[in-house]
């Protein structure tokens, strides 16, 4: 195996725990469940931030109802 690794730089990179210099470290891709939780978490965070904004009662939404 050692001989094989020495002969194949590409395979050596894959096996090595320390990334070669100059190669960007790409974080592991999130699992589908992690992605789903993140997406729903974004909505929750935005909702939470909006709930903390005080807006006077007489400020109406920025669209006009036209009869």
């Amino acid at each position: 195996m050692a001989a094989l690794l020495a002969a194949s730089p590409l395979l050596a990179q894959v096996q090595s725990k320390v990334p070669p210099t100059g190669v960007p470290v790409v974080p592991p891709a999130p699992t589908p469940e992690e992605r789903r939780q993140k997406a729903f978490g974004v909505v929750h965070t935005i909702s939470d931030r909006l709930s903390k904004i005080d807006v006077p009662m007489d400020v109406e939404p920025a669209f006009a109802f036209r009869p």
């Binding site: 960007p24 790409v26 589908p32 992605r35 789903r36 993140k38 997406a39 729903f40 974004v42 909505v43 965070t45 935005i46 909702s47 931030r49 909006l50 709930s51 904004i53 807006v55 400020v59 109406e60 939404p61 920025a62 669209f63």
Partner: protein, 490 residues
């Protein structure tokens, strides 16, 4: 490629302005058929290298071009866009041809009518040569990489390792690569400004409602705008004049026309311009700061009254996200609930659209009420200033082959004008232009100029003055023409 018979040589023709091409057509230095074939061939040959082309329309374009030549031969001049080829973002309906919205679930979608802007450009005798690639569903739901498109990642003609920006990716890249003289794009929040900045072209986002959206994919009814990407601010004005105007088919139409009248804005030096030094000196990534300092010096040389300011402090990000996501969830509810949303290319976007269904009415209404406050605050800002200027983006484009970097770059605590200006100005429905203002490591950077509602002529006039003093907008990707000049100040 056949050599066109024109004083514009083969190297300069792809990057000629609308005025130059119009003159060549009217002087019969080149025919409309020759010009159309020239650009259609470039779009179909080079377009796939940058994933800009969604669908070629060269056959119908050549037929249309013959009709234009018939008029030109009889000296029947129909305006500045007569005979000028262009491309349209693939979210605009073109009758009897696919309109995919950049998304697999709509790959076979065909409408039986043209979008109003397509009709208007046909009336101006501009020649549609192709549909241009875009981020799927204009990015609704939020995407995590450049690959979020039916045509693959939008590649930047300045360096194909980098993204061309989105969601009007193909429109920005096609203009930058000289594949079309101008292109139609759309913006909900940043989708014209970003590709214009990243690709080094001029991108105009008009006032909300000035240009009809009839026949365009809806992402957010209260935010969507159709605009232009072109070689210069002046070219943007010429195209806007043709596409603006009332349209009963668009409920958001403000029923106003636009006449490009630069002659009334000759004294741009009398304008009062709000800006912040910190936007150019501290907010950009360190590598971009010298180029932005250079751009600011060029802006100051115009002689306008430059006054330090900062924009009002609101939670622009959460407010615009809640509005876009809620409206998009309503628009795409059938796609999401049917499960066809899973056919999209970007997994984050799929999850984002599904999660958007959980916004409450309270969230949406709160966001729209804050939006009322934002509009009022910006009316006050434009009581003091004629224009605001800032860098369009503080960072270079992301790489095209990797997920977007989600680590937020540390920016100064103190805010100026640029941080939040893109979502803020979109929330207000006010117009903006992004123009090229420098290069860093071979990639363009952009300057945004924002004004109050219906101030397009003023914005274009100021941008044109900047472009008279610099030649960043005349630089072209080296692989397509030769190296960009390092010193682009005149």
């Amino acid at each position: 490629m056949g050599k066109p018979k024109t004083k514009l040589d083969e190297a300069s023709l792809p990057f000629a302005t609308i005025s130059d091409l119009g003159n060549a057509l009217r002087n019969r230095e080149i025919s409309c058929v020759e010009l159309t074939k020239f650009f259609a061939r470039r779009l179909e040959t080079l377009g796939p290298q940058y994933n800009t082309l969604a669908y070629p329309l060269s056959k119908q374009a050549e037929k249309f071009a013959k009709d234009v030549d018939w008029d030109l031969k009889r000296d029947r001049f129909r305006g500045p866009l007569q005979g000028i080829p262009y491309g349209a973002k693939d979210l605009l309906a073109v009758a009897k041809h696919p309109t995919t919205w950049g998304a697999k679930p709509y790959a076979d979608q065909v409408f039986d009518y043209d979008a109003t802007v397509i009709e208007r450009l046909a009336k101006a005798r501009a020649v549609l040569i192709g549909k241009l690639a875009m981020v799927e569903l204009a990015g609704g739901g939020g995407y995590s990489s450049a690959s979020a498109s039916l045509q693959g990642p939008g590649l930047n003609p300045w360096n194909a390792s980098y993204w061309s920006g989105g969601s009007s990716s193909g429109s920005g890249a096609a203009v930058a690569a000289g594949l079309v003289p101008f292109a139609l794009g759309s913006e909900t929040s940043g989708s014209i400004m970003t590709p214009a900045s990243y690709c080094g072209v001029s991108g105009l986002r008009p006032t909300y409602g000035l240009v009809s959206r009839h026949g365009a994919m809806a992402l957010s009814w209260t935010l969507d705008k159709i605009g232009v990407l072109a070689r210069s601010a002046e070219d943007c004005g010429l195209v806007l004049q043709a596409i603006a105007g009332a349209d009963p088919a668009d409920p958001g139409s403000v029923r106003k026309s636009f006449y490009y009248t630069p002659q009334y804005y000759e004294k741009v030096s009398e304008l009062k311009v709000g800006y912040a030094e910190i936007d150019f000196a501290e907010w950009p990534d360190e590598s971009l700061r010298p180029a932005f300092a250079n751009a600011l010096a060029a802006v100051k040389s115009i002689g306008a009254q430059m006054v330090e300011t900062q924009i009002p402090n609101f939670a622009y990000g959460p407010v615009i996200s809640a509005i876009i996501d809620s409206e998009a969830a309503s628009i795409f509810e059938p796609l999401i609930r049917s499960g066809k949303v899973d056919q999209l290319a970007d997994a984050s976007q799929i999850d984002g659209l599904k999660a958007s269904l959980t916004y409450s009415a309270i969230d949406y209404l709160k966001a729209m009420r804050v939006r009322t406050q934002v509009q009022a605050a910006f009316r006050d800002v434009f009581g003091q200033f004629d224009l605001l200027i800032a860098p369009t983006h503080f960072s270079p484009p992301d790489r095209a082959d990797q997920p977007f970097d989600e680590n937020e770059t540390k920016r100064p605590e103190r805010k100026g004008v640029g941080g939040g200006l893109v979502p803020a100005s979109n929330l207000c429905g006010i117009p903006a232009i992004s123009i090229p203002c420098g290069f860093v490591n071979g990639l363009p950077i952009g300057l945004q100029i924002v004004g109050p509602v219906f101030s397009e002529n003023r914005i274009i006039a100021f941008a044109s003055e900047f472009q008279r003093r610099t030649n960043f907008h005349e630089q072209h990707p080296p692989s397509l023409t030769g190296p960009a000049s390092a010193n682009s100040l005149r």
